[in-house]
Symmetry: C2
Subunit: 375 residues, 2 copies
């Protein structure tokens, strides 16, 4: 049963996830131009927006060269004519069959391993007929997540095994400098990006010294790709994803300005509680997510557009509780029934809670985009 | 594109949300029997499971007398033959039109107001032809959420206005003793339930003294309804919801035993990192939710079934990081590729992240249940 879409934002049913297509285009274009100017291939990550329309904008209409975080995403994009898809996720045996199906459907489907388990599995397993496993090796260059450690020899040995295997096309190194999320301003972001880049390049040099050609060496956190240090121009590939929307966290860390945030949760004031000095909105943890808990003193990290004096300090499943950051709330400014807009703390977490986005351009609603959730 | 469902749990694609239908039936039956024995009407809340099949079990097949938290849920249940639906959510003007549609479709559709805004709106707005607004008044009996305050006169005045309005059938009082979630054992739960009940009854007596008949006075938090104090037998209606699944939080607080938890996230070990003393699983914050952050020292509140020695200490979008609660992880016990099962900290938050559940009985997969997400 399709609900009729109103023409104006103020008539929307709340809560809903509002997406500004003009801002997405600006964010996409800024990243693309920097990459083009510096001869870096851009392989945008789809995990933040999870839509075909967003993928079209981020790939500039090519529908080629993307990263995904789930096989469901890979299949969704393959179903819609996308190709050259990298499934950048530590691969295990249980997921091989779906990978083989994707390899048979697509011209280029790349997989990813994060250590010895994956390397051993792939070197010992026959790929689909007429194909080779096309493999990226994950590198931990200081983030502490998955991947081989940049300063240990084991990673070089594993890359060598991938390169030497007749089953495998070794594509190169995939790194994610997630530590850039610990920065609090553009200078710190650039410094972190520079260090992560140095580690990546040190590892690539070791590969070359060991006689292992490394076609691609990529970086991809949104902070460091949005505020790139000049030295990062030597990598071959960027793979950020959050920059499609950005969010309150990225703005707080200096990856972007608040004006760049392309995704907001529209919600309405549904109650005044002067005796408790708080008001209620019709978005709780199922619309906003719990990401960002304690990111702001006495509250969650998400922010209310145009209202720096407010913070969300509590959530139940379907209700958010808002108080003044200091002193008494001036209830007259926020009438019951009026709409307010929340910048999610982390758009990857909040956007995924919505089965579709309401898309607008210059304040006019232009349609809805369906997302691919689940696994 | 339907994925073929394997017959055995060990062959499932992970992550997925596993639901034990036998445990749901036990949980439903235990609550129903206590209510029947004590002459209390049971109006189960649908917000935790959000499925038709779960609704059938909780209403013992009647498809009558339920509570919902969103209009999407109300419409979903109405579409599937459920009736006598209470939309227990602070009502605002923007949601009235969909309420009117539901009133026209159903025999009984009850709405809820939490204060003067809602009372004023309903007394001044004509209901659909031939109908009256059927209204519950929310009462805050110590929880600090929405509703009129139990110890203030304003609530009595508002109830009177509802009762006196010719537009309105005043149904009674809806209270939610959410403070019972602060308890840490069954005795504390019963004590909290008793206090909340005393406050509810004090308010109801004030209504009677003011000449306002109050047909229903209801309570409904899962802890206090699962470990009810004997005094609570005087209420007319129970409306808990989480007891369908329970979760790690409810078990930790003493609402239930771990053996009663009917919902688990099945996930696989996807990486060993002995040098960092942690392992990875294929469930991150999009499968588990961030609810329960810091609920356990050094980690999230969810627990790994059969492995009290483990805790989840970090999550990215699609990956969970597990360490030993103390000392070094014995990696041999958790082979890469092997399945482990996570009890969600808060099943309302985790289950909602899955578009469907995999349902099993005595270890055999018996089908999938689709959920109603969004608003």
């Amino acid at each position: 049963m399709e609900k009729k879409l109103p023409s104006s934002i103020s008539e929307l049913q709340t809560p809903c996830c509002l997406v500004d297509i003009d801002k997405i285009k600006e964010n996409a274009s800024r990243m693309r131009h920097w990459c083009e100017q510096n001869g870096i291939k851009l392989r945008p990550h789809m995990k933040t927006h999870k839509t075909i329309e967003g993928g079209d904008i981020l790939t500039n209409g090519s529908r080629r060269k993307i990263v995904v975080s789930t096989l469901k995403e890979a299949e969704f994009y393959a179903d819609n004519g996308f190709d050259d898809i990298l499934y950048a996720y530590p691969l295990t045996k249980d997921k091989l069959e779906r990978c083989c199906q994707l390899m048979n459907r697509l011209e280029l489907f790349h997989i990813y391993v994060d250590g010895s388990y994956g390397v051993e599995m792939l070197t010992k397993t026959a790929p689909p007929e007429g194909k080779k496993w096309s493999v990226y090796l994950g590198l931990d260059n200081g983030d502490g997540r998955e991947g081989v450690l940049w300063d240990k020899e084991e990673g070089v040995e594993l890359a060598k095994q991938l390169y030497m295997s007749t089953n495998i096309n070794f594509q190169g190194i995939y790194s994610h400098e997630g530590q850039s999320y610990n920065s609090s301003n553009p200078n710190e972001i650039r410094q972190t990006g520079k260090e992560a880049h140095l580690r990546l390049m040190a590892f690539v040099e070791k590969l070359q010294a060991a006689g292992v050609p490394c076609p691609e060496y990529s970086m991809g956190a949104t902070p460091s790709c949005s505020q790139p240090d000049d030295t990062m121009k030597t990598v071959t590939e960027f793979h950020p994803g959050n920059y499609v929307f950005y969010d309150a966290m990225q703005a707080a860390k200096g990856s972007c300005n608040e004006a760049n945030i392309a995704c907001r949760i529209a919600t309405r004031v549904i109650g005044h509680y002067p005796e408790k000095n708080h008001l209620l909105i019709d978005a709780g943890f199922l619309a906003l997510s719990f990401d960002g808990k304690d990111a702001q003193s006495g509250g969650y990290g998400m922010t209310v557009q145009g209202h720096p004096e407010l913070r969300i300090f509590k959530m139940t499943q379907e209700i958010g509780f808002i108080q003044a950051k200091e002193g008494t709330l001036d209830f007259e400014k926020y009438a019951v029934g009026s709409m307010i807009f929340i910048y999610p703390y982390h758009s990857c977490a909040s956007a995924a809670l919505f089965p579709e986005y309401i898309v607008h351009s210059s304040g006019n609603i232009v349609g809805t985009w369906k997302t691919v959730n689940g696994w």
